[in-house]
Symmetry: C2
Subunit: 345 residues, 2 copies
């Protein structure tokens, strides 16, 4: 993990790759340069999505651009990512994903077959998750002004429950459930990009997460907060939530599953799986008295079959994340400080 | 206007700049390669936006990515375009624009001051049009994989009336109202890009169009169809509507205003202003018996002060656009066939 100096004055600087990492630099870019131009109550929530009431219903609105390189990787591709990424952001509010937009930025020279393959994948992913792609846009940029294909999706979901699922609801004693092993997506993309071969194949965990979330809600489980673990990985998600909630979170290192191929690849490349991107994993904060039931529900779904408890929210008010290892020693987790894996989603 | 051979088999080809022109090539790319992967009733409407009913209200959803080059031009910039472009697509359904998402694709090396300036412009444009920017995303791509800044916005508007404003409502006898002179945006961007200097300055018409549209609707005017004139210009918009509506449209060439600087620049560059992009102009189809009233309402708004009648829908069922000149001779208009002005919005 490289440590970079904080930027004293943003306007003296240029954009660096690390500003897209999802970590500390991204956070500062958003909070210091971007958000001030658009200040409003929705942005102050600092969620991955906004809950709106244009009429009598509550809808959830979110967007993501996908610039992953390469476009196709073991376990997924940009088309699936563009659907699942946005569906997952909606699901993390407890919304039923309903509608997507799709905007393409094509680079001159992109083979039509490559585009066709990515769109076919998007179509399948949309059907699999029950969302309709209802509106779109296509732009073309000259050779050398893009990288084949960038896809933006925005999504609308409907809240069919009255729960508020948000960082401020995290309460002391809440247990933290993690839906499966971490680091697959980042390492699968990284290995493909670098042409690395491992004995056991590395496959992305890229998957839609609405099913396990809605299973919890439909069973009447109180869910205080949800977060999918994308850029910046599990560690960054935990730190962001601790700060948004103003809570201390305590996590057991040994409880966090990392597959052998991911562990091996991380060691080889000097990366910490806690900071590696996922595209089909999330954490849920639930009251301790419903945790066993919640865990059983999650484990009953294919995508979250390997769910487990990894920690809890303490009574502490210092917004921080304490990681405890097997011999009981503790360390504080930081956000991903700079750049780890650019163009991961 | 160059005429290109139609593509016989898309999958043998690569993306060309003309596929982003908004004309014939864009249309074929969308209808033959993109839309088949996502077929559903909303996409079959082939509008710039989709009308959805997630609950009891009708909302309108749309998206656009903005890749304009240069980022700043006389009369506007990418930030204004990104707000007004999406606001205008919502307005063309008669919706009140309410919420925007904003997704940035930044190229490594982009000066933070440039980003700040574009975002400040977005913020002002959002406040001016009464929309809230509620959710966003930021990605960074390496040097040479972008062009400074691309912005995607998606927008949600609310339909507060029960009118259906759509091509299929165009009826014989409807008059076609044009909100002002054409070609300013395309020529302003082109002139800046090419470093051309003219005696009279060329300024983009980039502007929000919700005010004149809502003025019509609030006055109880029946509006059959609306379309903003972006890529492909007035001619392409008319041809698309004739085809979607299955109607013959007849337009008087002399009624279409083109400013002297735009006319001069078009002649110099060998372009036809009918095909040049606009970002603050639209056409409205209204029944003849309300046209005078509608015209007065439009002329009462700053952005559409120069509105006029340019033609009508005939009783003919052949979906085509007839352009009549001052001596009474007629020609058929085509869509923009290939590429005219890439990266115009």
């Amino acid at each position: 993990m490289n440590t970079e100096c904080p930027l004293p004055v943003f306007t003296d600087e240029t954009v660096r790759v690390g500003h897209g990492s999802g970590g500390e630099l991204s956070q500062r870019l958003i909070s210091e340069l971007i958000r001030p131009h658009f200040d409003n109550p929705w942005l102050r929530q600092a969620h991955d999505s906004a809950t709106l009431c244009p009429g009598s219903e509550r809808i959830v609105f979110t967007t993501d651009s996908f610039v992953v390189s390469p476009l196709f990787f073991p376990g997924g591709d940009i088309g699936e990512l563009a659907v699942y990424g946005t569906v997952n952001d909606l699901a993390m509010s407890g919304a039923v994903p309903r509608f997507l937009s799709c905007s393409l930025i094509l680079e001159e020279g992109l083979p039509m077959q490559t585009l066709d393959r990515a769109l076919a994948s998007m179509g399948r992913a949309a059907r699999d998750t029950g969302v309709q792609l209802v509106t779109g846009d296509t732009k073309v940029v000259e050779r050398g002004k893009g990288d084949g294909l960038y896809i933006n999706t925005a999504g609308i979901g409907v809240l069919e429950h009255s729960e508020v699922i948000a960082p401020e609801r995290i309460a002391p004693g809440d247990l933290i459930l993690l839906s499966g092993d971490i680091g697959r997506h980042g390492m699968a993309v990284m290995a493909t990009r670098e042409g690395l071969e491992f004995e056991s194949p590395l496959r992305s965990d890229c998957a839609p997460l609405a099913e396990p979330v809605l299973a919890l809600l439909n069973a009447g489980i109180t869910v205080h907060c949800l977060r999918d673990l994308t850029r910046g990985g599990l560690a960054t998600a935990l730190v962001e939530l601790a700060e948004s909630a103003g809570r201390e979170l305590v996590v057991e290192e040994a409880a966090i599953p990392v597959s052998e191929p991911v562990q091996g690849a991380c060691e080889l490349l000097g990366l910490d799986p806690l900071y590696v991107a996922n595209e089909g994993r999330f954490i849920a904060f639930v009251p301790a008295d419903r945790a066993v039931e919640a865990l059983a529900i999650l484990q009953g779904t294919a995508v979250a079959a390997d769910s487990r408890v990894i920690g809890s929210a303490s009574t502490g008010h210092r917004p921080r994340v304490i990681m405890r290892n097997t011999i009981g020693s503790e360390r504080l987790l930081d956000r991903l400080p700079g750049e780890q894996l650019p163009r991961i989603c």
